[in-house]
């Protein structure tokens, strides 16, 4: 079975590829380039095409499939009336599947389920990554604010931190927000950050 993954995010495509490789009897092709999409997809001659919903080329691909309906192997978006839930789940996850006409529905479903899981796994990774990044940025801001207080008011580190924390509590804000304000104010009045 030949599966094509079209995704402009190379990282997500490889997360998908890795997941689908578990299926064993699959040959997997990844397309991340926008140009020449139709030519590549016709060369690959896939049984199943998986594409992320945020890809602007979906209309291009669907047009190609609509035209190719006259060919020997018509391809259409996989919509199984008996299982609207699984399609809904794929839309939720952000992936669409196109399938050669007549391909066994149960096999498609297992592939689609896997694709959905990989898409969710990827977005979890992304969320974790952005949480980690914002935590890191917050820590940097707090460190900068502490240094500013230590330099301008001659405080020691624990006192500088206590000052930030007290202000945050008084104003009902997070320490990171107060730290940001300190750093911004310091920049505005001409201090080096």
């Amino acid at each position: 079975m030949r599966i094509a993954i079209i995704d402009e995010s190379a990282v997500r495509a490889s997360v998908m590829q890795e997941g689908l490789a578990q299926l064993g009897d699959c040959e997997i092709f990844v397309i991340t380039e926008r140009r020449g999409l139709v030519r590549r997809i016709s060369e690959i001659d896939a049984d199943i095409v998986l594409m992320d919903l945020g890809n602007p080329s979906r209309d291009v691909l669907e047009e190609y499939f609509a035209v190719s309906r006259v060919l020997a192997r018509p391809i259409a978006m996989f919509v199984d009336d008996s299982d609207e839930e699984s399609i809904g789940a794929s839309i939720d996850a952000g992936v669409s599947a196109y399938v050669v006409d007549g391909f066994a529905p149960h096999r498609i479903r297992s592939i689609l389920d896997l694709a959905i899981r990989r898409f969710h796994a990827f977005s979890r990774l992304q969320t974790e990554l952005s949480v980690a990044q914002s935590k890191l940025a917050e820590r940097e801001a707090v460190d900068k604010a502490k240094r500013i207080l230590m330099q301008t008011r001659g405080l020691g580190e624990p006192e500088a931190y206590a000052e930030l924390r007290k202000t945050a509590m008084n104003q009902g804000k997070r320490i990171a927000e107060i730290a940001d304000a300190v750093v911004t104010a310091h920049k505005l009045i001409g201090g080096a950050a």
Binding site: R35, S57, R58, E63, I91
Partner: protein
């Protein structure tokens, strides 16, 4: 107490009405809290609508009809109780080709441009390298307007040239890279191509059909029925947004709203041009004023004339090469819902036409039509070739089509 209502859209200037209804608070005043869901392909806008991620969508009118008829996807009845705008698209060619078909610094005459283009198209076809147009979707008004114009100029769209799908944001790239020779797309994408020096605007689609239906507010029929009160509230909010859209004093503010990252994320100057019916045809040229380039409000522009849906169906049959089917025509006629529009706006100052259909293309001069509030004047509504579409004779219209023979 406000109710949430989500609307999918593509970042195009004609997504303006839902965006403005939200930002200016018209929806909130009607008790609706709009959530606008931006996507980058019509396929995804449609999927979200069909699987209930969104309650309604900004949609190319032919796609609402195709979905109802089950073309490309299993059939799902959609309803369009409000037209989000007429026209607003243009045809842009690579500049060296534009020079050969259109006068410099002005939009050409569609017949003359078509005749000149025909020569190029035939040369290119003979040389085995056919002229290639990009349109935004197979089931788009862009595709049908372009094809109507080409066929009317003796250029067979499927035999003499190639027409391929290009997503709007990539149109300028595709022209620049030489993947296509021309594009038919909405704003700001023609202007983006012009600014990049990738092309020259030669025609506005309003020159092909002076009052051509473009985007509609589409929703699942079942949603329209089960949330009828909210849908009517939304129609009132959109109608207020339409009136505000054409207010010259609001133009700068509206352009700035549409330009925001969460909406079009585009150059505010280009958006302002489109809203003011101004076009820069080629880089370094002068802005021209083309009245009613976009048409969002006057003459009951938002009224979903059933005859407009039927005209689109006639073009769908023509280019999908499928036979006329009376059952399908009945389904198509049910997509556009003037009854819901009337019911929503009764008691407001919006003109409500008494008829639900009209002969399209029959107005070569202004004409008064009856509405519940008295007469309104409809201006020119002509097709460029003077053909007339009588919705009561759809089959006859197709049979008389010189191209089909």
């Amino acid at each position: 107490m406000t109710t949430k209502f989500s609307i999918g859209f593509l970042p195009l200037v004609d997504a303006a009405l839902p965006i403005l209804a939200h930002v200016h608070g018209f929806a909130a005043e009607e008790g609706l809290s709009l959530e606008l869901v931006k996507d980058v392909s019509w396929a995804t806008v449609l999927d979200r609508l069909l699987y209930g991620h969104t309650d309604a969508a900004h949609m190319v009118a032919p796609l609402a009809i195709a979905t109802t008829l089950g073309r490309g996807r299993p059939a799902q009845p959609l309803s369009a109780p409000f037209v989000l705008g007429l026209n607003g698209n243009a045809i842009t060619l690579k500049s060296d080709l534009a020079q050969r078909v259109a006068p410099e610094g002005a939009l050409g005459d569609p017949v003359a441009v078509g005749a000149a283009l025909r020569e190029i198209a035939m040369e290119r076809k003979a040389a085995g390298h056919p002229f290639c147009f990009g349109v935004v979707h197979r089931y788009s008004s862009h595709n049908y307007m372009l094809r109507y114009w080409l066929a009317g100029c003796g250029i067979r769209p499927d035999e003499d040239v190639e027409i391929t799908t290009v997503p709007p944001p990539f149109c300028a790239d595709a022209l620049e890279a030489g993947d296509v020779d021309g594009i038919c797309v909405g704003e700001p994408w023609n202007s983006v191509a012009v600014e990049r020096g990738a092309g020259t605007i030669v025609l506005a689609t309003a020159q092909v059909w002076r009052r051509g239906v473009e985007k509609v507010l589409a929703m699942r029929e079942s949603v329209m029925e089960s949330r009828r009160g909210e849908v009517e509230a939304l129609i009132r909010a959109l109608h207020r947004a339409a009136r505000q859209f054409v207010d010259p004093e609001a133009l700068v503010t509206n352009a700035a709203i549409l330009a925001r990252p969460e909406y079009l994320n585009a150059d505010v100057n280009l958006i302002q041009r489109a809203l003011g019916d101004r076009l820069l045809l080629h880089k370094g040229g002068e802005l021209i004023h083309f009245p009613d380039f976009m048409f969002q409000y006057r003459e009951a522009a938002n009224f979903p004339w059933v005859s407009q849906a039927q005209w689109l169906y006639s073009q769908m049959l023509r280019w999908d090469r499928t036979p006329y089917d009376a059952d399908d025509e009945a389904k198509v006629a049910r997509v556009f819902r003037p009854d819901v529009y009337r019911s929503a706006l009764t008691g407001t100052d919006a003109p409500l036409p008494g008829a639900s259909s009209k002969v399209e293309g029959s107005l070569h001069q202004p004409m008064a039509v009856g509405t519940q509030q008295g007469l309104i004047t409809l201006e020119k509504n002509a097709f460029f070739d003077g053909r007339i579409f009588d919705p009561h004779d759809l089959a006859g219209y197709l049979a008389r089509d010189a191209y089909a023979k």
